[in-house]
Point group: C2
Chain length 279, copies 2
């Protein structure tokens, strides 16, 4: 299992649910992650989907709450869920739940006190894909990414910037325009500084317009989500995709909120989306 | 919603996932529970299955970890998960995780200091069924019960003693013979006293032999469960069912442990079992 230390291993839907730890070069800290390995991976390389979690989450929330393992087992998908930031006593933090530990926002910080460890962009686009490929039978060209809220922002932005690496992308309740919303503006200012020209590279709407994505983007958003109007602003992504002709399926789901009960309801659709594209 | 206070309500698989609280007459304390109401309940009364959780659990563990809502929605089942004991400052407790708060063992205590509040047998066989029927559209004769570990013991014993009330029963990793195992002996001695003749009424193996159950009993047990040999002793239930000709499907599942990843893997089978019997 190469660099990974196995913290736990549990049989689940005929596959293995692992919790792993490793010393990350990107963040300079130990990082935990969960990996589901489907039964099909015993026979041949299979596609792999990264799950990027939202504010306050660790590698555990998705793993125990989303119910993804059933369909991942059926479709033969490895699912990797990293933690949302570096953590520990020597790591900078903030009193708010929306900055610092648990809130890495999938960027590489360039501002004090965040610079030394907050390198979640490099972590999820470079170090982690390489380590996962070394340790698990991932089919070449078979990597996708999905996420929720801050992690939906993460999934969309890392995929749009790295479409040669991530072939499929989807998101639940993503922050689609962090340059326009309080959570995003606070985090981007703290991690990247006040020069807003540097923020656009981490704004999904900006990236849809400037780069686009080769395959269809799938997004689910609950219309009873209390963060919709102020923080998530889904309509901006709808508009951006329309403007440039980006293939996208952006679904407003009536009655659903921001919770993992919403994610559990539609995770099968997202896994099928990735399996279809990753083939 | 009659006596229940609604603490939360979330849309999930087209139905509603509720967290409720009420002042229990049986326990003399506030009691919390979770209730999943499937979309089908909007049109007509539907069957209802109680889930009884294991040691240390609250109403939340099953609700967020088991992934039961998908199949419950599809089959049209209400699923009710109560807390595992009375709780609060005025309620007796023990330093161990296996006695006191979080460990009610589904008996009515007759010994100090447990007597005033530890009435989980009456709670799940009398008060809660009545309140649920008042508040939700439960089909007459459509009540089943299932559970895990201590709650598997609870499901089996309350069903065997109340087969006119609970028409279907299943269990994950149940304590099948608490009179023969350390967890059970400690709890039964504390709650019921040292007269072991009183314990048999709460031992599933004894009840299979003395009463039997009208419909098939479904049990799943992981063979990598660290509690199997000392605490759960599944073979005793296999032997008891054989001895008296009780219809039972008791499955030893290779590689699975005691966790909710095991429960999630097989919960669909259990829900189908209940739906089939409850019609």
């Amino acid at each position: 299992m190469s660099v990974f230390e196995e913290l736990s291993k549990t049989t689940c839907f005929g596959g293995s649910q692992l919790t792993l730890s490793h010393d990350s070069k990107a963040t300079g800290t130990p990082m935990k992650l969960s990996v589901f390995v489907p039964p099909a991976a015993a026979d041949a390389p299979v596609p792999c989907v990264f799950w990027l979690s939202g504010l306050t989450c660790t590698e555990e929330n998705f793993t125990v709450k989303a119910g993804a393992q059933r369909m991942a087992s059926e479709l033969g998908l490895i699912v990797v869920a990293p933690d949302t930031s570096p953590r520990g006593e020597g790591v900078a933090d903030d009193e708010g739940y929306d900055l610092g530990q648990g809130a890495g926002f999938y960027v590489d910080a360039t501002e004090a006190p965040w610079t030394p460890h907050f390198k979640m962009y490099s972590y999820v686009t470079e170090e982690l894909p390489a380590l996962i490929r070394e340790a698990f039978p991932v089919r070449p060209g078979g990597l996708g990414v999905m996420g929720h809220s801050m992690g939906g922002h993460g999934a969309l932005t890392v995929a749009l910037r790295n479409s040669e690496l991530f072939k499929s992308v989807s998101a639940f309740s993503p922050i689609v325009a962090p340059t326009q919303a309080p959570w995003g503006r606070k985090a981007l200012a703290a991690y990247l500084g006040d020069d807003q020209t540097k923020w656009a590279a981490h704004d999904a709407c900006e990236l849809v317009c400037s780069r686009g994505f080769p395959t269809q983007i799938l997004v689910d958003q609950g219309d009873a989500d209390g963060f919709l109007e102020e923080q998530l602003q889904t309509w901006r992504l709808v508009d951006a995709c329309k403007e440039v002709g980006q293939s996208a399926k952006i679904r407003m789901q009536p009655g659903y909120d921001h919770s993992y009960f919403f994610i559990a309801t539609f995770i099968d659709d997202h896994l099928r989306h990735h399996a279809r594209i990753l083939g």
